[in-house]
């Protein structure tokens, strides 16, 4: 008892000491004009947890960078804005950040719809943006432009892997359950295209399910799909929708093994922490970063620091935002100055190691080449959530379409 009290007191003093240290260090750094980053994520509403993880990841990275002396001797300073998952709100936030806060670079974006609306306007804002979550292929494809970069895996990369795994399962008749917006439909379209190429014998069913976003009751969709007797189902639901779906589907016997199940965004810790042991095992799930997928020092350091600060394992969204800060740091150091056009130049072709692995930002379309891991869900008493076992990792260079195929013309 006494020991515990002592430890507690020690913790209090320790924290206080750290706070004072950080504050005084911050004070020193304050002397130098900070490099301003503007950051826009979904911070309210149904998907707020994704934005929260990204905010945490970015905050952690900035703290680390500043503690280590900043960039070119100047600290990073981040201003966060809420996109509310609405394009007009996000655009207003971007304009505020660029014109009023006078930020030097932008990091953010969860929703593809928001990304597609904002990216074209970057030409007017003349400020580099590093996208960390929004997955629509178009922002580094048809709608690509000089100022838009992405360090996270996009839909086509992720679905390419899904198709490869699907081809290996041997399942012939495929259908989908996905959210009723561009992401869900595009996942299905890309999946058909890629899988057909790998195995021309597969068939795609006409009975598909696209429940609207924030559907409360998935049971009719689940029973309808089960009744159609597919061999395999690819699921592109995410956020609370995925949780609702999994719980309701489990009860209806969806995961009993009558057909293969692939979840393109199943390995999101946002979802796994909510579901814990309710997450079925033996399901193929995809992700844009999985914290146990590699043992690099960079990754270990990140996981340790993240876990210490936030008491949970980092999600892909946290890693992507964390990585973005280091990408920006590297670009500024490469450029040698804090200048938007110079940063843009430096970002093109930049190679850097971040927790997810070594990534390279292609100069052609500004999409990062990064390894994508999928795995089968499994229980492990060492972890409070389901983990992936086995994990398969695909090389970024193999699964990313050539620049000429992306439709990006600048």
């Amino acid at each position: 008892m006494k020991g515990a009290g002592f430890a507690k007191r020690g913790l209090v003093w320790g924290t206080l000491f750290t706070v004072i240290l950080v504050l005084s260090l911050g004070g020193v750094a304050q002397a130098k004009k900070p490099i301003k980053i503007g950051s826009v994520y979904i911070l309210s509403g149904f998907a707020a947890t994704y934005g929260k993880f990204a905010k945490n990841g970015l905050t952690l990275a900035v703290e680390e960078i500043n503690k280590a002396g900043g960039v070119l001797g100047r600290p990073f300073k981040v201003t966060f804005e809420d996109s509310r998952a609405k394009p007009p709100v996000a655009l207003r936030a971007f304009r505020k950040l660029v014109f009023e806060e006078k930020v030097d670079a932008l990091i953010g974006l969860d929703s593809s719809g928001v990304a597609l609306s904002v990216v074209p306007v970057l030409k007017e804002l003349k400020t580099p943006l590093i996208i960390t979550h929004a997955a629509t292929p178009d922002v580094t494809g048809k709608k690509c432009n000089k100022y838009a970069f992405r360090v996270s895996a996009n839909l086509s990369q992720n679905v390419q892997v899904a198709a490869r795994i699907a081809a290996k399962t041997g399942a012939r008749k495929w259908t989908t359950i996905g959210p009723d917006y561009a992401f869900g439909h595009q996942t299905w379209e890309y999946f058909q295209k890629y899988l057909k190429k790998l195995n021309p014998k597969v068939a795609f069913m006409t009975t598909t399910a696209f429940p609207k976003i924030a559907t409360e009751d998935y049971t009719p969709y689940i029973t309808t799909i089960m009744n159609a007797k597919p061999d395999g189902v690819i699921i592109s639901l995410w956020s609370g929708d995925l949780i609702n779906f999994i719980r309701q589907a489990k009860k209806l016997g969806f995961f009993k093994g009558q057909f293969k199940v692939l979840m393109t965004l199943g390995a999101a810790t946002e979802v796994l922490y909510a579901l814990k042991d309710q997450m079925p095992t033996g399901i193929w799930v995809g992700t844009r970063y999985w914290f146990l997928a590699n043992n690099s020092a960079v990754n270990k350091k990140f996981i340790k620091a993240y876990k210490r600060k936030y008491h949970v394992y980092p999600s892909y969204n946290a890693q992507n935002a964390y990585a973005a800060a280091y990408v920006l740091k590297a670009a500024i150091e490469k450029a040698g100055k804090v200048d938007k056009e110079a940063i843009v130049k430096a970002l093109e072709g930049l190679e850097i190691e971040v927790p997810v692995g070594k990534i390279k930002i292609r100069a052609g379309d500004h999409q990062a080449l990064l390894d994508v891991s999928w795995g089968k869900t499994a229980a492990d008493p060492k972890y409070p959530i389901r983990i992936l076992k086995p994990i398969v990792t695909f090389k970024g260079s193999e699964i990313t379409p050539k620049v000429s195929e992306t439709g990006c013309k600048r």
Partner: protein, 325 residues
């Protein structure tokens, strides 16, 4: 009477000068913020013709805002040569949609009218959200290419915040003048009598539905003006423009400012953006603060902020006059 008219003219003049001078003294973002306030002001004013003057609470007004935005965006994405013509076509489309929705909706009253318009609004929302080949589905129509303004040989760079500010300001002033004229016309008086007493109006020989429909279409038309401008301002049309939460915005602004005062919705729009801007500056839990400000405003300003202030001033003046007598 004369003194008050002179005072009003002076006030209008001062407002005009302020509107003209502001973009030269404030920063780029403030220019854009004021531009957005004016666009939303047009939207709220259009809504209030129906709500404040005709007594119909539309909860689907974003449909007309959005339809115009989408038509304008669609045209501009397909290299339509004239911005003004695109805006005009968008606005006409909104008016057309208002004719259809209004034809059915004006039969109902009060909360039923509100819910029916909400239903129609959400049908339009669903349409643009699902019709991927034309509307771009959930992604919307993005990356508009802005042509020149399209008046003769006058070429104005619309994408510059300052010049777009002035374009919007012109629309804003025209909207105010036209709507002001309408609410003070014979037509406007009939609308008010319908608002005050539908039954009496009917037995006076007024065709309630026809007048309501006329009001609905005019209102939809101006919501269209706002929607088209908004699409140009944001270089996109997105489904969120038509969602019921977007319909709630002009309601919020109007009730905040005051529905029974002509300029109430404009004041409401200014207040709304100001509050939001200030709150989001220091916290991302903006909703709790917005709610915490909204609730007392609703309780203590029964006629909206501008409305209540004006009533109070009037009462004070009357009290003073009585004191003098």
């Amino acid at each position: 009477m004369n003194g008050s008219a002179r005072k009003k003219a002076l006030l209008a003049f001062a407002a005009l000068v302020l509107l003209g001078v502001l973009p030269f003294v404030v920063g780029t973002y403030s220019i854009m913020l004021i531009t957005e306030i004016m666009i939303m002001g047009i939207f709220a004013l259009s809504f209030n013709l129906l709500f404040g003057y005709t007594g119909l609470l539309s909860f689907g007004h974003a449909a007309f805002f959005g339809v115009s935005g989408y038509v304008t965006a669609f045209l501009l994405i397909h290299d339509f040569p004239s911005l003004l013509l695109a805006l005009l076509l968008g606005t006409l489309a909104a008016a057309l949609a208002a004719i259809v929705v209004g034809y059915f909706s004006v039969r109902l009253d009060e909360i039923y009218f509100a819910i029916l318009t909400l239903g129609f609004g959400m049908m339009f929302y669903t349409l643009v959200h699902q019709w991927r080949s034309v509307t771009g589905g959930s992604d919307g129509l993005t990356g508009l290419v802005l042509p020149s303004l399209g008046i003769g040989k006058l070429s104005i760079d619309v994408s510059s915040p300052k010049s777009f500010y002035f374009i919007v300001a012109v629309f804003f002033i025209i909207t105010i003048l036209v709507l002001l004229r309408i609410v003070r016309s014979s037509f406007g008086l009939i609308l008010m009598s319908i608002r005050e007493n539908k039954e009496r109006a009917a037995f006076t020989g007024i065709n309630i539905r026809a007048y309501r429909l006329a009001s609905f279409v005019i209102s939809g038309f101006f919501a269209g003006v706002a929607g088209g401008l908004f699409a140009v301002f944001d270089r996109m049309a997105s489904p969120s423009m038509l969602h019921w939460t977007a319909s709630a915005e002009p309601v919020l602004m109007t009730v905040l400012g005051g529905a029974h005062v002509f300029f109430g919705p404009v004041i409401g729009a200014i207040l709304f953006f100001f509050i939001e801007h200030v709150i989001t500056k220091f916290t991302d839990i903006w909703m709790i603060f917005l709610g915490a400000i909204l609730i007392p405003l609703v309780i203590f300003f029964p006629d909206g902020v501008l409305g209540t202030l004006m009533t109070r001033r009037k009462k004070m003046r009357e009290a003073r006059r009585e004191g003098e007598e």
